[in-house]
């Protein structure tokens, strides 16, 4: 019994310890808030889990607090999967973060309608950001979000392998086929295909139909969603689906069993030479093989080289909660001015290996630099266009995945199935 009492006592002490440690934390924070009587606390909720991005967020905090001694910037980093849940819990509990990140324009519309987003139209930092990307953050003529970064979609390839076999960047489908045949003849898998994951699979057909269908008609997805256009009636979409299948023999042995991580590793160790994906692939592959030399070219879509376009999409956007307090808004304005400055974005470009929305003279990974500076006439900027919502996107990806998974492909069946699924959603 004595022993039991000792254990109970020890446990009780640890409880008191937990409370004491907490009290210490709370006291520290209270001291900061009351230091000058009017200290403002801003909270930045983000999901930047990558080491480079965390270093960038930390550098923003340090620079900001050093410049403005009456403001404290609390950083709350959560994992990407829980980000939306936590954000919505905080918003529903009147504990909104001061700034937080949202994805596409469709997200902005939803949060703006709910009255959560402040108008940033008069923020000075807008002058620093690529004007084309700013379109993505506009709702009803107001600037409610500002993109932090740009993503590029195209074909990422191993430059050394291409040089070894005397291959050039293909600009037409027949040139791409020749490249694939040469690689196969030399024992190299032409494409790394992370098709085990729907989101990673989607990047492959996406470059094709975006370059042709969406570039040709900015309302392409909107028309499909409201059913004024049917998949079966879109010759462009049909052609792109056939193009996807035309290259299936170059996807390697187990395309639908290959995860995104495995695909990066296959690229990094030279087993595969090309990957149709988003620009974050460059950092991912390089982390497995720092010596790899990665290049990028737009995915050819026809026999006309001018139709091959580098896709540029605005990435995460920073939004400000709609506070009425002018002091908080002013402090947030200063924070935005700092974040969207070339100096601050240098860390984002050079340490986090991202393509910042603020143009500047950065030492970036070569492939990223190439995308960022790709000529406008050979690029397709998706900023400000009406996108698919997540429901339509999920249905599209899943249906396509099922269609391409088998040993044969029936394009008519795919298009009819897509129409049936979109009809259901419309109803």
């Amino acid at each position: 019994m004595k022993k039991g009492m000792v254990v109970t006592g020890a446990l009780a002490l640890s409880m008191i310890g937990a409370v004491a440690v907490n009290a210490q934390e709370i006291t520290k924070e209270t001291a900061v808030k009351t230091k000058s009587g009017d200290v403002i606390t801003l909270t930045w909720l983000n999901h930047y889990g990558e080491a480079g991005k965390q270093a960038w967020v930390q550098s923003v905090k340090e620079q900001f607090e050093a410049k403005y001694d009456n403001v404290v910037l609390n950083i709350e980093t959560v994992d990407a999967d829980s980000h939306k849940t936590i954000l919505q819990t905080k918003l529903a509990s009147d504990d909104a973060p001061t700034i937080f990140d949202l994805g596409s324009n469709a997200d902005l519309v939803v949060y703006n309608e709910a009255g959560y987003l402040a108008d940033l139209s008069d923020f000075e930092c807008l002058a620093n950001v690529d004007p084309d990307l700013l379109k993505e953050g506009q709702v009803d003529g107001k600037q409610v979000g500002i993109p932090v970064e740009l993503s590029g979609y195209g074909v990422f390839y191993n430059v050394d392998i291409f040089e070894e076999y005397g291959l050039k960047e293909p600009t037409t489908l027949s040139e791409l086929k020749t490249v694939c045949d040469t690689l196969v003849a030399n024992g190299i898998t032409p494409f790394a295909t992370p098709f085990a994951e729907a989101w990673a699979f989607s990047c492959y057909p996406r470059v094709l139909y975006d370059e042709v269908c969406w570039h040709g008609d900015g309302d392409f997805w909107a028309k499909l969603a409201d059913r004024s256009l049917k998949f079966v009636d879109s010759e462009d979409f049909r052609e792109q689906m056939e193009t996807v299948w035309a290259f299936h023999e170059y996807w390697g042995d187990d395309a639908f069993g290959t995860s995104w991580d495995s695909a990066q590793q296959i690229m990094a160790n030279g087993e595969a030479a090309m990957l149709v994906h988003g620009s974050w692939a460059v950092d991912g592959i390089t982390s497995y093989n720092p010596d790899i030399n990665i290049g990028v070219f737009p995915m050819p879509v026809s026999e006309d080289p001018s139709e091959a376009l580098m896709i540029k999409e605005p990435g995460q956007q920073l939004v400000l909660y709609n506070y009425e307090d002018e002091e908080i808004k002013e402090a947030a304005r200063n924070l935005y001015n700092l974040i969207y400055s070339e100096d601050c974005m240098r860390v984002y470009a050079e340490e986090a290996h991202q393509m910042p929305s603020v143009p500047g003279d950065y030492e970036m990974l070569p492939a990223l630099s190439e995308i960022m500076n790709y000529p406008a006439e050979q690029s397709f900027s998706e900023a400000g266009l009406v996108r698919k919502d997540s429901e339509h996107e999920d249905v599209l990806f899943e249906t396509m995945m099922n269609a391409f998974m088998g040993s044969s492909f029936d394009v008519d069946a795919l298009l009819e199935e897509l129409d049936a699924a979109y009809d259901n959603l419309a109803e």
Partner: protein, 279 residues
Amino acid sequence: MKKYRVELRKLPYFLLVLFAVLVFAMPVALAVLTSFKSKPDLAKSLIGFPDQIYLENYRGAIERSDFFHSILNTVMVVVPSVTLIVLCASMSGYAVARYYKESRILMLLDKVYLASLMIPFQILMIPVYKIYKTLNLLNTLHGMVFMLVGTSIAYSAFLYVGFVKSIPREIEESAYIDGCSEFKCYWLITFPLLKPISATVAALHMIWLWNDFNISVILLQKEAVRTITIKQFYFFGQYTADYGMAFAAAILSMIPVVLCFVFMQKYIVNGIVVGAVKS
């Protein structure tokens, strides 16, 4: 010769067990192996041995997750929680098991416990967050303790009820005859007899609470109070993951809970079986 034949008959069972052990041990072995691999080694082969032992993963994991501070936070949350769960649930289970026939409220409480097991935390999330914000319990370790205890009491009490019913009332009646009060009877007579189920409850909750993610991620959003499981996501970006460091951090954080399981596994099994079967 006879002995040899008996052993041969057991060979299929032995092979089956060996296969099961391999199946269950393989993921752990892979995790350990991965934690010692550099990223280029990982790119070469997932299951192969590394060219050289890469300890940088462990150094990076300790640094990036602020490991010792996070472990301290975890201990500060788990130890008091488990203590309170054992004390409160045993008292509650005792009361329900002994007096449910005499009290409608206790009978109802038994049902309430069962019903509450069906409610997932996601449903409680927003109300709990609001209440915690109002009471200034967000981002506090003791607030986290209250939440963990609150969400664990029902199942623990459920286990205790079954176990207490298996203890003969006559032992307590003797104590009452000797002048024991109700609380003393519970504390001095019954509680020591609950040792197997208490060990089960303590061990199970030690494991569960140590690994809790859902509640911690909502209630502990500041760096200073984050527990080790929340720090694991630091190795997973939106599109990239550092598996070497992630597994190194996971293995380090697993050690206390594995030790707990090794030392208490017989109680875990015994407690559940005894509590479930006897009435």
